[in-house]
């Protein structure tokens, strides 16, 4: 993998490091943003009293578990795609498109979770549990949408060969962002459905 990077002209290896470093700082920054959100979650969860609340409709655990599995699989496919790109193997596109497809699947399941809960009469204004569930998943969903748009943008770019020497850093940065979205969802899943 390293050898393939170093085979590129020197500027491109440096560009890859620059781009990855910038992305790492960006993710660090966003981790602080979600850290603040998780801190709020932990503080406010104490206020709910019984967690999860009893006697009211809750978001569906099985559906959330399926959504988690779908998102994890999507991340794994993108990881494999980037591995291929790093070692100069062809065939990144099918993996990329499949990862994108699973990402869309996650978004659909997330939408279903919201519709289901709203159908049961639990609205964002209903109480603190609902504030937390809708608020936090909305914030996460914004990142899912940004991630999906970048994935679509990159798949178009991969097809047209637009990136040239920036191809690897573009692909790997978008994958890093998607893994981050994945990790945030896992924390949310653990917080709302497991613990």
């Amino acid at each position: 993998m390293r050898a393939a990077v170093l085979n590129l002209p020197r500027e491109d290896a440096a560009t890859k490091v620059n781009a990855t470093l910038g992305m790492v700082f960006f993710i660090g920054s966003w981790a602080m943003a979600f850290g603040a959100i998780f801190l709020s979650f932990l503080v406010l969860r104490q206020r709910v009293g019984v967690w999860p609340p009893e006697g009211i409709a809750l978001p569906s655990f099985p559906m959330a578990a399926v959504a988690t599995a779908v998102l994890l699989a999507s991340s794994a496919l993108l990881h494999l795609a980037v591995k291929r790109e790093e070692s100069d193997q062809p065939g990144i596109q099918p993996l990329w498109i499949a990862g994108l497809g699973l990402g869309v699947g996650f978004a659909a399941l997330q939408g279903w979770l919201w519709m289901d809960l709203m159908g049961a009469g639990r609205l964002p204004t209903s109480g603190l549990y609902e504030s937390l569930f809708y608020g936090l998943t909305w914030i996460h969903a914004v990142h899912v949408v940004i991630g999906l748009l970048s994935l679509v943008w990159a798949s178009v770019g991969l097809k047209t060969g637009r990136y040239g020497s920036h191809r690897l850093s573009t692909v790997s940065n978008i994958a890093i962002f998607w893994h981050f979205v994945d990790v945030v969802w896992i924390v949310l899943f653990l917080g709302f459905f497991v613990f």
Binding site: A14, G22, S29, A36, R47, T125, L128, G135
Partner: protein
């Protein structure tokens, strides 16, 4: 993407001056933007002072125009808006764009020997994001029910729908979020640039201290601005959607019930690093300027770097001292008190280094040097009074009084402002190729520092006597009536302070367009930014320079008689 290529120079007006990727143009955009907001925030301060000295009297000159409904008299809501927006504007739209936006952009690539920022497109987006944020903030002044009235801290529940029904508060949250996003973009860019694009030989131990300070500021920006971003999102959801993150159960109709103190935690986790975000660049300017104008190496370079790094780390763990009166657990309170006391130790080290840099120096009291010495003075006053606010026993008495107002205006506002003036007057000849008038500069300096010290020292006395912050009309409280003459004195001094700023505006604009043409290195310093021709070419360095000496090698015995400085690109003669 990378800043080490020579890009072709843009030719159209839009790509050259508006949507430019060139860090030097972006620096100037940030500079004009920040200066305009500094002026708006300053006018707001003058109106606040007018109300404090003459409650119920129509504001002279501009009152009839701004508040026709009340015939120029400030009503309580307008007064609340003024102090809220004064704070927000000065911090987020005045000082941050000037120090970090303008001088971060100007200094970093030129001082480390790079052709541009590492992500020029991100750099451009950073400016236009803060610009949109500024526009949203400005628009919020004109919506029905007025702008934010909850103070620059906007504590819940003053800031949730319980305390503020209007659109102004919501727009304020949006504006702060956008401005924060801009700072994060800048911070990522600065950090990556400094790590990756230093010229050969420009080791971390040879970086000018300005660059070190901007690096550490960027670290804080990248780590802590997101926290207020999250707080603003939650506040926005509470206001726009009706969630209950920050509204207690007793105030909610229907279900819910969140925690207003949580907002304070989130705000101050960001808010305390923010004061260091503002002061670190000023410290960096001072470290360098003192050495440049004392014609001596910066005393204790490594200790200064270590001290600034220690402050950066500690700034993350002291925020609780803003919350001593919220019913914080006493053990937590004492921990925060101890940590706050500890942060004064690295600050003292810097102070010691500054004084030692001056000691037996061949002082050139040019205008930038005066501002640098001014920072030492006002930061010293502000820092000393911080001890009283860090101590729980005294803070509980002084909390939310004018003592606090005096303290943070001297430490964070005046020091940062003086640092900005130092930087503006210092880099002006390289930025614009012209020189500012020295006499007017000195009048501006003395006309600023004397009334400014007077105003804020009076505030210590008034606060100690118990005058609370943010009261609309102190004279309505009998026990504050005796302080009114001090309020009047402070207002007169503040008006003088405000008037003297016009000297700066005149000098700045006149020198920008009609000043005498400056030499390429008028201050005779060796850092890379001054090794360049004026105006600096589009790609900065045709050949990336190789660095051999440190940034502060002044009056070195090996240099001989004819000059007391050496460019960083030359080797010291042996």
């Amino acid at each position: 993407m990378s800043g080490d290529h020579i890009h072709p120079e843009p030719t159209s007006f839009l790509s050259k001056y508006v949507f430019s990727h060139d860090h030097k143009v972006i620096a100037k955009q940030f500079m004009w933007f920040g200066l305009i907001w500094l002026g708006i925030g300053g006018i707001m301060a003058m109106m606040i002072r007018w109300q404090l000295a003459n409650p119920g009297m129509p504001v002279p000159a501009i009152g009839e125009f701004l508040f026709p409904r009340t015939n120029g008299v400030l009503d309580p809501a307008t007064y609340n808006t003024l102090f809220t927006m004064h704070g927000t504007i000065m911090i987020f739209l005045g000082l941050t764009p000037l120090m970090i936006g303008a001088f971060g952009n100007w200094c970093i690539p030129l001082m480390i020997g790079a052709r541009d920022m590492i992500f020029p497109l991100l750099n451009m987006l950073s400016f236009w994001t803060v610009f949109v944020g500024g526009c949203v903030g400005f628009y919020s002044l004109f919506v029905p029910m007025g702008a934010n009235e909850a103070g620059w801290t906007s504590y819940a529940t003053l800031s949730t729908t319980v305390g503020a029904q209007g659109l102004g508060e919501t727009l304020w949250a949006v504006a702060v979020f956008l401005i924060g996003a801009s700072s994060i973009m800048g911070g990522i860019n600065y950090m990556t640039t400094i790590i990756r694009l230093r010229a050969p030989g420009m080791t971390w131990g040879k970086l000018p201290l300005t660059v070190w300070a901007l690096f550490l500021t960027s670290v804080l920006n990248v780590l802590f601005i997101p926290v207020i971003g999250s707080a603003m999102i939650l506040l926005f959801l509470d206001r726009a959607v009706g969630t209950s993150f920050f509204t207690p159960a007793s105030l909610m109709q229907g279900g819910g019930g969140g925690d207003p103190i949580l907002y304070q935690h989130l705000f101050w986790i960001f808010g305390h690093p923010e004061v260091y975000i503002l002061i670190l660049p000023a410290w960096g300017f001072v470290c360098d300027l003192l050495s440049f104008f004392a014609r001596k190496p910066a005393f204790g370079y490594r200790a200064s770097v270590g001290a600034m790094t220690a402050v950066t780390v500690l700034s993350a763990v002291v925020y609780g001292h803003h919350m001593f009166t919220t019913g914080l657990s006493p053990m937590l309170g004492e921990s925060f008190m101890l940590l706050t006391m500890i942060i004064s130790v690295p600050a003292e080290i810097l102070f010691f280094n500054w004084l030692h840099t001056l000691w037996k120096g061949n002082l050139r009291l040019e205008v930038p040097m005066l501002w640098a010495i001014g920072v030492i003075f006002v930061f010293g006053l502000g820092g000393l009074t911080g001890i009283y606010l860090a101590t729980i026993g005294t803070d509980i008495f002084l909390h939310d009084t004018y003592f606090v107002v005096g303290h943070f205006h001297l430490t964070m506002a005046a020091s940062a402002l003086f640092g900005t003036f130092g930087a503006l007057t210092f880099w002006f000849p390289k930025m614009f190729g012209r020189r500012m008038n020295q006499t007017l500069g000195k009048i501006h300096f003395w006309g600023t520092i004397v009334p400014l010290t007077f105003v804020f020292c009076l505030m210590f006395a008034m606060g100690y006597a118990g005058m609370p912050r943010r009261y609309f009309d102190h004279t309505s409280a009998e026990w504050l009536a005796d302080l009114q003459h001090m309020n009047k004195m402070a207002t007169h001094a503040a008006f003088l302070l405000g008037a003297v700023q016009l000297v700066f505006v005149y000098n700045f604009i006149k020198s920008r367009f009609w000043g005498p043409v400056a030499e390429e290195n008028p201050w005779e310093v060796g850092t890379l930014d001054w090794s360049m021709p004026t105006p600096v070419p589009y790609y900065n360095f045709k050949e990336i320079p190789t660095v051999h000496t440190g940034p502060h090698e002044f009056s070195h015995p090996a240099l001989g008689e004819d000059r007391d400085w050496i460019p960083m690109t030359e080797k010291l003669p042996t």
